[in-house]
Amino acid sequence: MTAKLSADDLTLIRGERCLFEGLGFALNSGELLLLEGRNGCGKTSLMRAIAGMLSLETGQVLWNDVPVLKQRQTFHGELVWLAHRTGLKGDLNMVENLHFEESLRPQSGRDREAVYARLGIERLKRLPLRSLSAGQQRRVALARMLLADVPLWLLDEPFTNLDREGRKLVMELAEEHLAAGGLCVMAAHQDVDINGPVTKIQMQ
């Protein structure tokens, strides 16, 4: 299945500041969109706008050529957002957290144990997330992303808190995702080394 994420003439004004103006892109299956720029330049805002959480001054984001705001549920069913805050509950353990996320989505058929093993978190199942390190929590968030098994990944600073191997793993996962025909939007201020068609947006 091929999918397409595009945007045209996006403008976002926050208070007095114009974060971006006339921004557009088109992303097809197997392509990566890399948002680059210094802190506070609006990478996260753009990502929220893509997810349909911000109202823009002008322009719209399209998923398969239909505005995302007109098909919010369908669109949200096909994206997963790895945000800066993991969105996992510290009082619940990994299995409980992931079970909640899974029960909101269609069964993906991914092998849970294989995903846990790949991310190196198979031993942490019964510990409350609060007791895990920040990097381990991020790995659990990555597990949620993999288990959702959706075409569009929105990754906001995915390397935060991860060790060297973790970063490499994220890049590998993204490469595999792209190779399998997925789409990926990534905001990063570190060097990203991913094989595949990359579109870059340098934000001011």
């Binding site: 299945m1 997810a51 349909g52 959480m53 911000l54 109202s55 398969n64 549920q73 369908t74 949200h76 069913g77 096909e78 994206l79 957002w81 945000a83 800066h84 805050r85 993991t86 969105g87 996992l88 509950k89 510290g90 009082d91 619940l92 409980e96 909640f100 996320e101 029960s103 909101l104 989505r105 269609p106 069964q107 993906s108 409350p128």
Partner: protein, 232 residues
């Protein structure tokens, strides 16, 4: 076009999943549940101590005090309805969930009512004894509290959603909710008073039921819209 993919689970599984998660969280942090309940019990027991043990007076103020305490304790617990989710980012995840947001908001409100409204209804008979409430009136009081706390939780979820992004939004939340909560308080307290005076009270119960149903059908949409606005 998208029918080829696996279907998104039905809305009841979304409702149940959200409610279940919040109940599980409440189970792991019982303090959050017990606080409002403790407040309710404390206010209800302090009034007789301060006013004096005159039976007529206690009988007279009983319904009003119980109802005001119930309202305040619900307001107290509402602040945390979306706050935890807002702080750890799970609210953002709910906003991009494939499930309809009103359903998820309703699931959270259901869990809130089960952990704040329902316990309050269950302990109220014990407190009613302090006010020498006749045994025949106690079921009426419990019924009005049951219907009333459902309305309060639902209406309160709108205020909680609107103020979730603000720091220390408790006062604002109370101000926003009070006009909507006022009918519940008046109907509830007066219905119990009427029942205690052996008057016809069923009208009040029906009105409270109607208010609860109206809240149930409208509040989730308002809450969802408020969540989207306050998370822009």
């Amino acid at each position: 076009m998208s029918d080829s993919g696996p279907q998104i689970p039905g809305i009841f599984s979304g409702l149940w999943a959200t409610a279940r998660r919040d109940l599980l969280l409440a189970w792991k942090r019982p303090g959050d549940v017990l606080n409002p309940l403790f407040f309710f019990a404390m206010v209800c027991t302090l009034f007789p101590l301060a006013i004096g043990p005159s039976p007529e007076q206690l009988e007279f103020i009983g319904p009003g005090v119980l109802w005001v305490a119930a309202l305040l304790s619900t307001l107290l617990s509402l602040n945390s309805l979306f706050l935890g989710d807002f702080e750890d980012g799970s609210l953002d995840q709910l906003l991009v969930s494939p499930q309809p947001l009103p359903v998820l908001a309703l699931g959270k409100t259901l869990a809130h009512w089960l952990t704040s409204g329902l316990p309050l209804v269950l302990v109220s008979p014990i407190l009613a004894v302090t006010y020498r409430m006749p045994a025949s009136v106690v079921p009426v009081m419990m019924l009005t509290l049951l219907l009333g706390t459902i309305s309060l939780s639902l209406l309160g979820s709108i205020g909680a959603a609107l103020t979730v992004g603000l720091h220390r939004g408790t006062a604002l939340l109370s101000l926003l909710i009070l006009p909507l909560a006022m009918p519940v308080l008046l109907l509830g307290a007066n219905t119990v008073s009427l029942a205690a005076g052996n008057d016809i009270y069923t009208t009040g119960v029906w009105a409270l039921g109607a208010y609860a149903i109206a809240s149930l059908s409208l509040a989730p949409y308002a809450t969802a819209a408020a969540l989207r606005i306050s998370n822009e």
